[in-house]
Symmetry: C2
Subunit: 314 residues, 2 copies
């Protein structure tokens, strides 16, 4: 198996593009329901009909089969809506309707409206059922020796439920509701890579976002076909040679310090967790590793790493 | 006048997005004609009806009013099509149909198909009439002193026909048909900033692309409303303190070495050539100047600086 960079991108950014294939796009969209919040006449997510079916006759939700819209009708502010959403998913967890709800995290993610206002919070593991945008932070830690980059790459513990044993970014995590990306990153740097807070605050550099529209496969766990538009804030951290990231919990097995060719070969072999491979691609683009001269799909890859969503974002 | 970063982006990326406003998108698209090449059933550009009108009954072109498609029907390969296109525009220049053709450059741009193959070459000044994707290179030259960035910013000669007296990127130019982006950049670095070729080759770093869909205003010169999707390959060049860019021709008046706040203030005052302001925005995102914490439209800006087009690209 040798995956091209476009193959790696296609794994995570599987939702069609209207501007490239309007017919395929229309055919896809027509199978989904829009998720809306009452009083806000725009989509905040796309949902599978099989998921919407379970919301039918559930308090606080209304299904419009004609327009294919599921509306969260309960609650008149963020707090009330969040409580209504929580009650729904707690009940659905009990009734074991959805496998993804078995991985309850007790972590709330925010869902935002067109004015970036909070519409409601929702338990993290339920977000793919709603098809709403989720947010994370991903850090690439590297050293420069003799003008060459070497990159710190962790391997996930084999015991992890999802993507066990696969390669990852130095630090990566989801952003909880109310938390800012930078503060989230600083916290994760300590938890996941045992990096000193002052070193991180001094040296880390925000470098943009990577956005992609993932259609969940069995590797993600739980129901397949669920829609998961994701926005990852990306950061670079150039480390001194004597700072060595160490697993801070049992989620990481070990850290490797690899040359760019070593990383690229592991990517081509499909050893990276799919969205972490995208973060590496974007890092390689910003650092002149991938160029128009050596990557035939350069323009397409750069664009698609920064997809604009159908839904409002933070 | 104080322009936000989103205002600066809106000036260059004015074409609507289907995924954000399908109704506005459909209303816009329905006023245009698609440009196609015979035997290739997809759009390679959007054209104004007022422009298409002039192609009616012109040899080598067919107008389908029902489907709103203008097809280049002459020629069965790139060479023959290029010759047919050239004859058309030479004639239109003579008949003075379009003001944009007064600025004939004797420079050919390439128009490519879905397999990245050359469909035809076309005189540079005619590209906005066809609405096809054009390509350029933009370089940001900077120095780092005491951990602070300072950026080399040229001011365009007041006598330049377009955007005279406005601020620019250190080096910027269009990519001629058949030329690679990197070689184009090296050439422009010598011509526009008097930078030594070996210094450029050793130090310059490819950092991605900036893509946006411009609707031409009067500032661009010639007819307004023409559609101009552009792809700029972006490069960074960190210069030693003792290397000072110098105007290599009479197109640049002088170079300033400005701090980040000085550059940002000039951007907010609208002093930059619009697409050069986008290159600065993207530079600021990659270098941690603009972050999620200090720019409320961060995600939207990052996405829109990397727009995916309706048309095939190189």
């Amino acid at each position: 198996m040798s995956l091209s960079n476009l193959d790696l991108l296609n794994e995570c950014d599987g939702f069609p593009y209207y501007q490239v294939d309007p017919d395929l796009y229309a055919a896809s969209i027509s199978t989904y329901f829009e998720l809306r919040v009452q009083g806000h006449d725009y989509a905040i997510g796309y949902m599978l009909p099989s998921v919407v079916e379970i919301f039918r006759n559930t308090p606080n939700w209304t299904v419009d089969d004609e327009s294919r819209i599921l509306t969260l009708a309960g609650g008149s502010n963020a707090e009330e809506r969040s409580a209504a959403v929580m009650r729904t998913f707690v009940a659905m967890k009990e009734t074991k309707h959805f496998k993804v709800l078995d991985k309850w995290r007790n972590e709330l993610y925010s869902v935002n409206g067109k004015n970036k206002e909070l519409l409601f919070d929702v338990e993290r593991c339920a977000t793919p059922l709603l098809g709403v945008v989720t947010y994370g932070v991903h850090l690439t830690a590297f050293v420069r020796t003799g003008g060459k980059l070497k990159i710190w790459i962790p391997r996930r513990a084999k015991t992890k439920q999802t993507y066990g044993g696969m390669l990852d970014n130095a630090v990566a995590g989801g952003i909880a509701s109310g938390e800012g990306p930078f503060e989230s990153l600083v916290r994760e740097c300590g938890e996941e890579a045992s990096l000193q807070e002052d070193l991180v605050r001094e040296r880390v550099k925000a470098c943009g976002t990577v956005t992609y529209f993932y259609i969940r496969t069995k590797e993600a766990g739980g129901e397949t076909g669920l829609l998961q538009p994701e926005c990852e804030y990306v950061y670079d951290l150039e480390l001194p040679a004597d700072v060595i990231p160490k697993p801070g919990d049992d989620e990481v097995e070990e850290f490797y310090l690899w040359s760019v060719p070593e990383v690229r070969e592991a990517m081509a072999r499909g050893e990276f967790k799919p969205n972490c491979a995208l973060i590496m691609l974007e890092f390689f683009i910003r650092h002149g590793v991938l160029t128009a001269e050596n990557e035939k799909d350069y323009i397409e890859i750069v664009s698609r790493l920064h997809r604009r969503f159908e839904f409002p974002t933070l």
